[in-house]
């Protein structure tokens, strides 16, 4: 016999409960009683059946999915795992979902998977990848029999026929569909990986469209399959979902990088429009021509301006400037010479006037006379220069008197009127100077 410690008992029982597949993934229904939320944010409540009850706890992390407040008296369906809270020996349900009764199993399963995958980060916005602008290859995972593939081809042929469409056929409804969709996605990824252009880092397939054509709404379950969701998540190539329904989002839509309402819309989302590209090419061609013309004009202007500068710096203008200076200097020289000549002329005139004032002629006019020796032409200024009988020419103001010395006296001039020279008779006409 072995006596157990309490902790050992609890631990043993807990492991037993947690290893049970039914208790580990349990759906249970009942009426809510005794709802209590702890300060830590966890929700504690009791589910009551006809004759028994089950303690439940919903941790804060699971509570954030709960949109409506849980209230006592509600009939609900809860999902979770049963285990043992050892500290209190409490058998309880660790609930991850509580929904009002009557919503249907499909909804409950969808909701449970949605919450789990959301918690795992499969829908995270930061994980969503951008779609290629100019795809080279577009993968399509869809049924080959339906109108879907033709719609996609038609849109791509019109918008962007440059692309190659790689179709991975798969059933999109029926029991085999989830498995085939997963396989198709994997096939496209393997195809892309095997043709990866390492040098240019170009994926062989740029984007995948996962599309479903028309079909019964209940077949949407295929796209709520966990395997399909994980295959989309695992795809190295961005996935556009086109499940073909407007209202409800499937799990596949939530995991996909982009959700399109229809396959045609998906094809438009992954392809640029050829006509827009044509217009852009035309526009760029025009801009190239305009820019080149502008460049040409710019260079022409530079040549013109260089020529202009050359003209400005030409010796022609310097020569003209020198010519101008020479002409100026000549002008100034002429002016200066003329000025000097004028000065000299006026000086000369002044001297002439002075000379005129000093001229003996003026003196002669006052009655004085000049006596010359006619033989030598010398002026006779002293009496002892002549002897009686010598000829003497007397120059008067008007005319000359030819005379002869009769006698001399050597006294100096005492009286201007006592003229020692006897005046001869004027001969009445102007005599030549000898």
């Amino acid at each position: 016999m072995r006596i157990f410690d309490i902790a050992e008992v609890m631990s043993y029982a807990r492991e037993l409960l947690e290893s049970d597949p039914v208790l580990g993934d349990l759906w249970v229904q009942g009426e809510v009683t005794k709802v209590y939320q702890s300060t830590a944010g966890h929700l504690y409540f009791t589910l009551r059946g006809a004759s028994s009850q089950l303690e439940c706890v919903m941790f804060r992390s699971a509570l954030r999915h709960v949109r409506t407040r849980l209230e006592a008296g509600q009939a609900v369906v809860a999902h979770g795992a049963v285990s043992l809270y050892e500290a209190r020996g409490q058998f309880q349900l660790y609930a991850d979902l509580v929904e009002p009764e009557g919503l249907g199993q499909a909804y409950l399963q969808f909701e449970l998977l949605r919450r789990r995958l959301e918690d795992e980060g499969l829908f995270a916005l930061e994980r969503k990848r951008a779609l290629p602008t100019y795809p080279r290859r577009i993968g399509v995972a869809t049924s080959i029999g339906g109108a879907v593939i033709h719609d996609i081809q038609r849109v791509l042929a019109r918008r962007y026929p440059l692309v190659e469409v790689v179709i991975a056929p798969c059933a999109v409804q029926g029991e085999a569909a989830p498995r085939e969709i997963v396989a198709a996605l994997q096939r496209l990824n393997e195809y892309a990986a095997s043709r990866l252009d390492e040098a240019r880092r170009l994926a062989a397939i740029d984007v995948i469209i996962l599309a479903r054509g028309g079909g019964a709404p209940e077949e949407l379950a295929v796209f709520n399959d966990e395997g399909v969701a994980r295959a989309i998540f695992a795809s190295a190539i961005p996935v556009v979902s086109a499940i073909g329904h407007e209202t409800d989002h499937t799990i596949a839509d939530l995991v996909a990088d982009v959700r399109a309402a229809t396959p045609s819309v998906a094809a438009e989302l992954v392809s640029p429009d050829c006509e827009t590209l044509r217009a852009t090419v035309d526009e760029w061609r025009r801009r190239v021509a305009v820019a080149a013309t502008t460049a040409l004009q710019t260079h022409r202007q530079r040549v013109d301006s260089a020529r202009q500068q050359l003209l400005w710096r030409s010796p022609q203008s310097q020569i003209a400037a020198y010519q101008q200076r020479v002409s100026d200097l000549a002008q100034r020289t002429r002016g200066a010479v003329a000025q000097q000549l004028a000065n000299r002329a006026s000086q000369l005139q002044a001297r002439q006037l002075q000379l005129l004032a000093l001229s003996p002629t003026t003196t002669l006019a006052r009655g004085y006379a000049l006596c010359y020796d006619p033989s030598s032409g010398a002026l006779v200024t002293a009496a002892n220069q002549v002897r009686p009988g010598d000829p003497l020419e007397v120059q008067l103001h008007q005319g000359v008197v030819h005379s002869e010395v009769r006698g001399t006296a050597s006294s100096a001039v005492a009286d201007p009127h006592a003229n020692p020279v006897e005046r001869g008779a004027a001969n009445g006409h102007r005599a030549h100077r000898v």
Binding site: T133, Y134, R136, R137, I144, Q153, L156, A157, Y160, P161, L162, V163, E164, V165, V166, I167, A168, P169, C170, E180, A183, A184, R187, L188, Y191, R195, D197, C274, L277, R278, V281, D282, W284, R285, R287, V288, A289, A291, A292, T294, A295, L296, T298, H299
Partner: protein, 71 residues
């Protein structure tokens, strides 16, 4: 293995770069004229690619390793 689809994007990007370089200016006359010729050539090439493109379809079958032309 199928040939690589025509790299429209590369030519398109080259043309865009050509426009940018020319419009920025500051090129020598020779460079500007060379860019002009390049731009004309690239735009013509883009037009040809767009005009002559024909959608290609390949099927990836589950059982078959090879990609086969479809339709």
């Amino acid at each position: 293995m199928a040939t690589e689809p025509t790299a429209f994007e590369a030519v398109f990007a080259e043309l865009e770069e050509c426009v940018g370089v020319l419009e920025q200016g500051g090129l020598t006359l020779e460079a500007a004229l060379a860019r002009f010729e390049e731009g004309m050539r690239l735009s013509a090439q883009c037009s040809v690619i767009l005009d002559q493109a024909e959608l290609r379809i390949t099927q990836l079958l589950a059982d078959d390793e090879e990609a086969e032309p479809a339709f």
